[in-house]
Amino acid sequence: MKVKENHFIGISGIVFGICNMVPCINEQKWTLIIYFITLGLPEVIVGVIGQKDINPKSLRSMSWLSTILGMVILSLNVSPYYHSTTMSYMNYIAAFGLIISGLYGIFTCSKKYGLELIP
């Protein structure tokens, strides 16, 4: 059974993953660059892979990845150490975007495709 929502979740992942990496432009601290890339790049990669036909279980996994990465980005961004001094708003956009799209995907998998909430 193929799903339709993967395109939306995948594009959200690509957009918000890139969003999270944009602050690298102005950043000098290597620790923040690691933060931006390690939390943004996987989302972009999964978003690209998720554009092909996938089943509901894969959609669920993709959605959970988005949700959890979004929560991690949000919790780091509110800390003084990992707060970008110039473009933190990009990380906030990435965080909320990923969380909302991820929750939408999880909700769809549960209600529309009848899957358990967690893999």
Binding site: T31, I34, I68, V72, L76, S79, Y81
Partner: protein, 452 residues
């Protein structure tokens, strides 16, 4: 391979605390891995890293963490494998090994320790952590913090394994990520890894053996109850490997992250306990640190009270949610009234006395039943397990006494190994001499009686 049970499974107690998990409700290896990782990823495990670097350098602390958690994984695997194979909790496995009355003693102790004792300790510790972060607010009041924390944990545990799993599924990756980034921050703040190693080299006074002891002793009780989670695994291999790997990897990661952060922050401890909230605040982790602390305590303590309720539910015909409510209320009350402090010496004593029971269970199943008798445990409804395995309990008590006299390695680990070896030898002798060590009620009208 999962064993097909012949009974009609009726989940009377809720969450299958008295019967095997049906095949269609088993979960993936990822779920098992994440849940057991969540079980060990907690404040006390992160603190263990801080304790280690209080007495040894970073390199030795890392080795102690890896060796200690590897030992625990090797202990966890055979116990979790039984749960994964048969789909039953630790309490029911204990019945087969120790008899109904014998297992009742074990479960009562564990339920007291995990469900009330450790619950109270961790709820109060979470309140102390919150107090450090919000000293001049209502949350800075220990009684308020303990009450709120205890209530939240109890409510979460009432929803059973699904609720715990969802919480761990969200919390574990967050805690792992925040610990990872905390470690990165620690390295950068200190001026690099070599500088961090130089700073840590000033710490002395703890031997490698003592360090491994601290790691093993602090997590062995959770290790013994892993069947409560592994029973949801699809088969023996999934239950065994996923549960033990999750426990080991989660533990090592937490300890090393805690060590890195403690060295970099260089914050005074509270007594002998590293002040982790202040460590994270000193590194600039802020609100993210609060999330780590609160989620770590929530996942571990929820699992504690859940596991205790599952164990008690295998004996009493009460819905699991009511058992959780009672245990959570008692633990919260203890935390609020500061009585938990008096339980620490008791918990330390039980930490030596209870592990040999796990050694007896491992020996009884894997050596005596599977290897020697070429048989297996069975858990049909109405099965008679025997009353009391006097040999098992005698070995457990003697092993605990012997281990307490040995000043080598970890007392809790030593008592488990001694219990395993002694029970294997003596049970084989009893079997050879046709001496029964399982007390049974005479003239019991059952189809199958376990022969010792």
């Amino acid at each position: 391979m999962s064993v097909e049970t012949k009974q009609t499974t009726v989940d009377k107690s809720g969450d299958f605390s008295r019967s095997a998990i049906p095949a269609d409700q088993r979960q993936s290896s990822v779920s098992i891995f994440v849940t057991t990782a969540g079980w060990v990823i907690c404040l006390s495990t992160i603190l263990a890293g801080g304790v280690l670097v209080g007495g040894m350098d970073l390199g030795k602390a890392s080795i102690a963490a890896i060796v200690g958690m590897l030992i625990l994984a090797l202990i966890a695997a055979p116990i979790a494998g039984i749960g994964g194979r048969h789909g039953v909790p630790t309490a029911m496995i204990a019945k087969s090994a120790l008899g109904s009355k014998g297992a009742l003693i074990f479960i009562a102790i564990v339920a007291f320790m995990n469900g009330i004792g450790w619950f109270a300790y961790q709820a109060a510790f979470m309140a102390m952590a919150v107090k450090e972060l919000f000293p001049n607010t209502i949350f800075g009041n220990l009684a308020v913090g303990s009450t709120i924390g205890g209530i939240i944990m109890t409510i979460l545990a009432i929803f059973g394994f699904k609720g715990v799993t969802i919480l761990c599924f969200i919390a574990v990756p967050m805690i792992v990520s925040l610990s990872f980034f905390g470690g990165i921050a620690a390295i950068e703040v200190s001026g690099g890894m070599s500088e961090l190693m130089k700073i840590s080299s000033a710490a002395t006074g703890m031997t490698m053996g003592a360090g491994i002891t601290a790691v093993v002793g602090g997590a062995i009780m959770g290790c013994m109850m892993l069947s409560d989670v592994a029973r949801f695994g699809k088969n023996e291999k999934v239950g065994s490997i996923s549960a033990s790997l999750g426990y080991m990897i989660g533990g090592v990661f937490c300890i090393v992250a805690g060590a890195l952060m403690a060295v970099a922050a260089n914050v005074d401890s509270i007594g002998t306990t590293p002040n982790l909230p202040k460590v994270m605040a000193a590194l600039g982790l802020g609100a993210g640190a609060l999330v780590v602390l609160v989620l770590a305590q929530l996942t571990t303590n929820t699992t504690n009270v859940y596991s205790a309720a599952v164990s008690i539910g295998s004996w009493v015909n009460i819905k699991q949610r009511y058992i959780v409510l009672i245990l959570g209320a008692a633990g919260t009350a203890l935390a609020v009234f500061d009585i938990y402090a008096y339980f620490i010496p008791i918990l330390n004593f039980i930490g030596t006395a209870v592990p040999p029971v796990a050694g007896v269970i491992i020996a009884d199943y894997w050596i005596i039943t599977r290897a020697v008798k070429k048989s297996d445990y069975s858990f049909e409804e109405g099965k008679y397990y025997g009353e009391f395995n006097w040999l098992g309990w005698a070995v457990a008590i003697v092993s605990a006494v012997i281990a307490s006299k040995i000043n080598f390695f970890a007392t809790s680990f030593n008592s488990l190994v001694i219990g395993f070896i002694l029970y294997t030898i003596l049970a084989l002798i009893c079997n050879t001499c046709n001496v029964s060590y399982m007390i049974k009620v005479k003239n019991t009208n059952v189809e199958e009686i376990k022969e010792a």
